[in-house]
Structure formats: C-alpha cells, structure tokens
C-alpha cells in the first residue's frame, strides 16, 4: 500500500465507522450472547466427556504410545513425515514449524496489496484453502500414527535375566533419547541418516559402541553428558546396543 492508498483507506474507514452503531450496547450484546454460548459449550463438553485420568505415569514403560492433545497432531505428523526424508532430518524438528510461524508473523509485511475482498485475492485464498486442507489432513493422519519414541522389541530368549533387564532398560533409554529419529532398530525408527543398529552388537564391541556414543561423527549428538551425569543409564544403553546381534 502506498501513501495514497493508506489515506483512502483511512478516509473510507472513518466514514464507515461514523455510519455505524455504538459499541455499547450493540456489539456488547452480541459479544455477551457469544460468551454465554462459549461457557455453555465448555460446560457441556465437561459434562459429556469429563476429565478422565489415565493410569499413573510410569517412566519405566516404553510401550505407551504418546498422544498429545489433538491440536498438536498436525505438528507431530509434520515431524514424522519430515524425518522419513533423510535430507530434511537435520532441520526437520523445529525448523519447519519455525518457518511457518515466521511466515505467519510477517504476513502483513509481504501481503501489502490494499485489496481486502477475499474473492479478489486469489493467492491468499488458495494459501488459506491449502493451509486448512493440509492441517486437516495432517491432524487426521497424525491421529492414526504410532509413537516415534518406543522401541517395540522383546529381549531375545537366550539372554540371562540380568541381560534381559539391561536390554529392557537400555531400550527405554534409546526410546527417550530419540535415537530412532536417525537409526533403524529392527522394525522401529527411520533408515537414515544414521546407519541401522539392528545388528550393531555383532559389528562393534561394547567399548567401541561406548566411545562412538561419547565422540560421535558430526550430525549425531554426543552422549557424553549422559555418561557423566547418569552412568547407569549410559551403561544400560551400551549394554542394549551390544546385545543387538
């Protein structure tokens, strides 16, 4: 909008405003009715669906499928899809939502035409339809996916009881650490950019696994702080990986 368009808008708006009704009581009445509807809908939802608590949180399980509130489904789904394309993985997680947010923030700065009628703004209209359709699709498909974090594996039968315990505990650490974002373990995780770990125990001795975890190659994060702060967890992680044969 250039200077003339701005002044035209302000002049026309002030005429339209002068022709309007006072905020009180006309707009206030509508707002009050809407507020009553909102509170009734909330009360109705509360009475209909209540607020059931699930079982108490248990950090020692990984079988539980994480479910965010429905309005985060689309976000989870974006991340899941992005992670499956190795090129995008490094910027997958917060990168895409950050870019979307910045686009949303800057909307008034790159959409600067004076036109406000949606039927004469084809780009804006198609962007809106595309966004709504994409979010609806992502929310729907996000509602039907599994956990990006659980390692769904049973310990092999030939292990001792202590080894089985290490296996279960280590699988938990793997799940929590997000290893599956870049590695495949059995039927879990993404194939890339990291190498598959399904049989890593037969390729590397435990000491080599541990040193790789502490000093990894570039895109992989270091587990040094884990090794220093909770050595037990780190040992379980190494133990689990060396049991993958």
């Amino acid at each position: 909008m250039n200077q003339a368009e701005k002044e035209t808008y302000l002049r026309e708006y002030s005429i339209l405003k002068n022709e309007g009704k006072p905020f009180f009581p006309y707009a206030v009445a509508k707002d009050s009715i809407m507020a009553a509807i909102v509170i009734f809908v909330i009360m109705f939802l509360s009475l209909m669906f209540g607020a059931e608590l699930g079982p108490k949180a248990d950090p020692t399980t990984t079988t539980y499928v994480p479910r965010p509130d429905w309005y985060f489904f689309f976000l989870f789904e974006v991340l899941r899809v992005m992670k499956n394309v190795p090129v995008f993985t490094p910027m997958a997680t917060i990168g895409v939502p950050t870019i979307c947010m910045i686009l949303l923030f800057l909307l008034p700065f790159y959409d600067r035409s004076p036109e406000r009628r949606i039927e004469r703004r084809p780009v804006a209209l198609s962007a809106a339809i595309f966004t709504i359709a994409a979010m609806a699709y992502l929310t729907y498909s996000g509602a039907n996916t599994g956990s990006p974090n659980s390692v769904d594996m049973k310990p092999p039968a030939n292990l001792t009881a202590a080894q089985k315990q290490t296996f279960t505990a280590g699988a938990l650490v793997v799940g929590q650490s997000g290893c599956l974002a870049c590695h495949v373990i059995g039927s879990n995780g993404n194939n890339g950019p990291g190498p598959p770990l399904t049989k890593i125990g037969s390729k590397l001795p435990p000491a080599a696994i541990a040193s790789t975890l502490v000093n990894p190659t570039a895109p992989m994060p270091s587990f040094k702080s884990l090794a220093q702060q909770t050595p037990q967890k780190f040992q379980n992680l190494v133990g689990f990986l060396s049991l993958l044969q």
Partner: protein, 268 residues
Amino acid sequence: MPRLPAPPLPKVLQPKPPRPGDEENGNVLSPVEAGITVVDWLDERTSLSPGLRWLLWRKVPRGINWAYTLGSATLFAFLSQAVTGVFLAMYYRPDPAGGAYESMRYINDDVFLGKFVHGMHKWGASVMVILIFLHMGRVFLYGAYKYPRELTWIIGVTLLILTLMMGFTGYLLPFDQKAYWASVVGVNINSGGPFIGPFLSDFLRAGPEFGATTLSRFYAIHMLLIPGAIIALIGLHLYLVTKLGITAPPWIKVDNGSEPDLVQRTEA
C-alpha cells in the same frame, strides 16, 4: 457543571449539614441519588468517565456480523481458563513422586464439583484453541491484518503461540501415562530444534532428564510465566483494537460519488 459532591460515607460527621430542618428529607438521598454521588466522587478523583465513554460509545463500522464476536469469545474462554485454573491450583501438588497424580485423583473423586471444573479446564483449552483459529481465519479472510493493523496481527500470532505453549505445559500436569509420554516426546522434539532447542529443553526439564523438578518447572511456566505474558499482550491487543477501530467487512464500500448517500450520512 463542576458540582463537587461530598464524600459518601460519614454523613453524620459532616461539619455543616446544609439547611437543617428546612426541608424534611433534605439530608436523605434516594438510592439512585446516592449511587450518582458515589460515581461522581470516584470520577472527581479518577477521571475515568471520559475513558469509559470513549471505550463504550465508540462507533463500530456498519455491517459487522457474528464473526466479529470470535475475538471476544476467545477472551472469554481465556477468562474461563483463568478461573477454573485458579480453582485447580487450590488443590494441585506438582510432585511427580506421588503428589501430582494423586491430587488430580482427589480433585476428580472427592472435591465438590472438582471433576466438572477439571473438565471445564481441559475442554476449555480445546475450545480456546478452536476459537483462536476461527478468529485468525476471520481476520485473514477479511484482510483485517492489513494497514493500519499490522501490529495487532503480530501480537495476535504471539498470543496463538503462547496459547499453544499453555496447552503443551498444561498437558503434563495431571501426570498420567498419556501426559508423561507426550511431554517426553514433545521436549525431545524441542531439543532437536535449531539454536535454542537444546537450551529450551533443558530449561523445560530442569535438567538433562525428566526428574523431580520437571513438574514444578512446567507448573511454574503454566501458571506464572505464560499467563503473565498472555494477560499483558491481551491488554495491548485490546488497546490496539479499540484505538484503531474494528475493521469493516471488506464488501461494505462507501459510495463516494452518490449524492443520496452523502445526504443520508449527514442525516444520520
């Protein structure tokens, strides 16, 4: 008329009651008159009347419809969340070792109307998110984010993000399985973010792991930091909305050339 009313309360203590005995009920105010006196007294000190007049009797442009109530509906949903949230805070203990889940159970099972208020807070969050998206949709379709309301839009987007952060931090607090694992995953996703991602995750978890302090951290963010920011930004958003005026629907046009319209306008 600069009529300066006497202070309302200690009538008996006034040094010189005007014309005693002259009129029978000269000293007695009717309830309506007393109300006016109190308002006058307050107004003499605060000068709030012009501000209130400006706020209430300002014009809204012609042609506004029900879609314009979505903003105030969002505000109302936020107020409902604030009230129900304070109610829940009266009972909630953010202790993962055996306070959080149990206190939510206590609210659900034993507190009078506890489950109802808990449900209102839970579903109120969804209603608020839906209302925000609908409000944003209305603003987008009407082109209401354009000059001169760019700043209002930016503050609105910030409010959207803060509301989603409220949803995220609030989701952990009942500390059931669903809440715990969704938050573990959510924080892990965060830690993969660029630049501040890892620091933000450590801040949220109060350390490199979910621990005894994590729940206090989420709780403090959910009930102090974000609500404070939201209230301040809502204030700014409303100030701008009032200052700049509510947009007219884009299909309502001023007939610049037509004489009858101009005449009509001067009549109105």
